[in-house]
């Protein structure tokens, strides 16, 4: 018997294979289960076109925080990833691009020095090659264990986005559940086109922090992708099954085949 999973939204139970065949979107209610970076990449990249950029970073503990090293080791085992983002190159319908995929499973997708470095590097690589950069975000924000250095990643990634812009290379952001804090307040809001997945939580302050400030419950759907669309901060909510063709269209119209030059 195949593995079964229960949808946290509609509570129906499905065969895992069935849900997987829908790109992990609930066939009944449309709930988006979390994708691993590998699943995400295979959902948009051509065949075996993805090649990961090498991981060359030593473990940084910039403020020398006790217990951080152990926390990283645990996360590596748990998420089966070296860090909270994977970067590399691939083709989408034959066109090359640079891609970064964050993972909420690794310490809540928090942005420390290595995550910031990899994302900045990916953007600079895109600018060098003049290939579009696509970033799937998922993050609780800055990685507090790295103190002020986590804050500096906002500066580093946003400056890289500025370089990308000045080199006229497109940046496409796909906001996935959840994207908050220092990631929202840096590169995640700086796409030439910002896309989002249905139902994703997208905001700066976390819902509980805001509730603490205003002293009442937030209205339903506050900070959802649909809310951000209504408020004008994202361009479109794209279904998972349409993500590849949407990105493919955006690459095509930005990379010369419909050139206005």
């Amino acid at each position: 018997m195949s593995k079964q999973i229960q949808c946290p939204s509609c509570h129906r139970v499905f065969d895992y294979d069935v849900v997987a065949s829908y790109m992990k979107v609930c066939p009944k209610c449309g709930y988006h289960h979390r994708l691993t970076p590998a699943e995400r990449i295979s959902s948009i990249a051509d065949g075996n076109s993805f090649a990961e950029f090498p991981f060359t970073y030593a473990f940084p503990n910039p403020i020398g925080l006790e217990g951080y090293q152990e926390k990283i080791s645990q996360s590596r085992d748990k998420a089966n990833l070296e860090e909270a983002v994977i970067t590399g190159e691939c083709t989408i319908d034959g066109r090359p691009c640079v891609v970064a995929v964050m993972s909420f499973d690794f310490m809540g997708g928090s942005m420390g020095s290595v995550v910031g470095e990899k994302i900045a590097e990916a953007m600079i690589e895109g600018a060098l090659r003049h290939e579009p950069v696509i970033i799937f975000t998922a993050s609780g924000g800055a990685r507090m264990q790295e103190g002020i250095f986590s804050l500096m990643q906002m500066a580093k990634t946003s400056a890289a986005a500025a370089l990308l812009e000045k080199s006229l290379t497109p940046l496409f952001i796909v906001l996935t559940h959840p994207t908050t804090g220092g990631v929202t307040a840096s590169f995640a809001m700086l796409g030439d086109v910002n896309l989002a997945e249905k139902g994703a939580l997208i905001g700066f302050a976390g819902p509980r922090v805001i509730e603490g400030t205003i002293g009442e419950k937030l209205p339903a759907g506050f900070q959802s992708a649909e809310f951000q669309l209504e408020k004008g901060f994202i361009d479109a909510i794209v279904a998972r099954e349409d993500m590849k063709k949407t990105l493919s269209f955006l690459i095509r119209v930005h990379m010369g085949e419909h050139s206005n030059e």
Binding site: F149, K156, A161, I210, K231, F233
Partner: protein, 310 residues
């Protein structure tokens, strides 16, 4: 190394020599600095601006939504120079605290700051920022009007602003809300100012799971001017009177003024392009300990520069 990059390096090296080092007093604990930085009678951005300028005119509004009182912007003169000032405003008493939202800006505050900076760029005025905020406002309206986008845009735009930008953390440097006006060519901290990714109270309750541990959190977070000088996050420490800036505000104002004059004399001689390249390179290599200032990173960055109109 080609001619272009050699030229950049020589400019950069010349600029590295500017900073002089003044030793901060070793005596205070991190927590004492936290308390001092938040003290009600601590001199404000508005005080320093008026103390430093011969004349100053405040300019209001972001031109999109409103005028955020938690952010002050305007144009001042210093000797023969016109300078744009941007600063957080907490207010000098309880009534002002409330109208200034305790220095916590909404998106319109960051957009007002950006408007001032772009105006400065247009008219070739240097920009001076005074940071003193617990953070951006975590409220309903702030989210509705895109506080994340507003800060993100400032980080991107200030990174490539074609005029000198100097930032001074004069009190509390609270997280993204501080960074939103904190990207520039030089970053300074007053001796007893603090700068951190989250308040020590927040750090204690989230990471140490004990809000009462704020004092030890403050130590662990390494958020004082001494810590950040050591990390090379800031360029230098601005001295305060032994009892704190509030005991002799004019002393600190004078030190700030001297720093501004010295840096602007130097930075204003640079071409805008070199200024921006230097700033971007500084930001790119901010993680000293990741050894990101390796030759390959620098070479790539220089190559990207040649493809950009900065």
């Amino acid at each position: 190394m080609n001619k272009e990059s050699a030229k950049l390096y020589s400019t950069v090296d010349a600029m590295e020599e500017i900073a002089s080092t003044k030793e901060a007093s070793e005596g205070r604990s991190s927590w004492e600095c936290v308390l001092l930085s938040r003290q009600q009678n601590r001199p404000s951005a508005s005080y320093y601006i008026h103390q430093i300028c011969d004349e100053f005119m405040e300019l209001h509004g972001d031109r999109y939504y409103g005028d955020d009182k938690a952010m002050i912007t305007g144009i001042g003169t210093m000797g023969g120079r016109a300078v744009t000032f941007i600063g957080n405003r907490k207010g000098a008493n309880m009534k002002e605290n409330i109208s200034c939202n305790y220095g916590m800006s909404n998106p319109e505050g960051y957009r007002k700051a950006l408007r001032a900076a772009k105006q400065a760029e247009k008219f070739n005025r240097p920009v001076i920022c005074f940071i003193d905020t617990p953070g951006a406002y975590p409220g309903l309206g702030a989210e509705q009007r895109g506080i994340g986008e507003a800060i993100a845009r400032n980080l991107k735009e200030f990174a490539t602003l074609r005029v000198p930008v100097l930032s001074f953390i004069i009190g509390e440097g609270g997280s993204g809300g501080a960074l939103g006006i904190g990207i520039g060519d030089k970053l300074y901290m007053l001796e007893n100012a603090v700068y951190s990714v989250i308040t020590p109270e927040g750090f204690a309750s989230i990471l140490l799971r004990d809000p009462s541990q704020a004092q030890s959190a403050a130590e662990a977070m390494k958020m004082t001017s001494r810590d950040l000088k050591e990390f090379q996050i800031i360029h230098d420490i601005i001295p305060e009177a032994p009892g704190g800036a509030h005991t002799d505000p004019a002393f600190t104002a004078n030190a700030i003024k001297e720093t501004i004059e010295r840096d602007l004399d130097n930075l204003c001689t640079k071409t805008p392009e070199n200024l921006v390249r230097y700033r971007l390179r500084k930001i790119r290599n901010i993680d000293v300990q990741l050894h990101s200032d390796n030759p390959e990173t620098s070479t790539k960055l220089l190559e990207v520069f040649t493809r950009c109109r900065l």
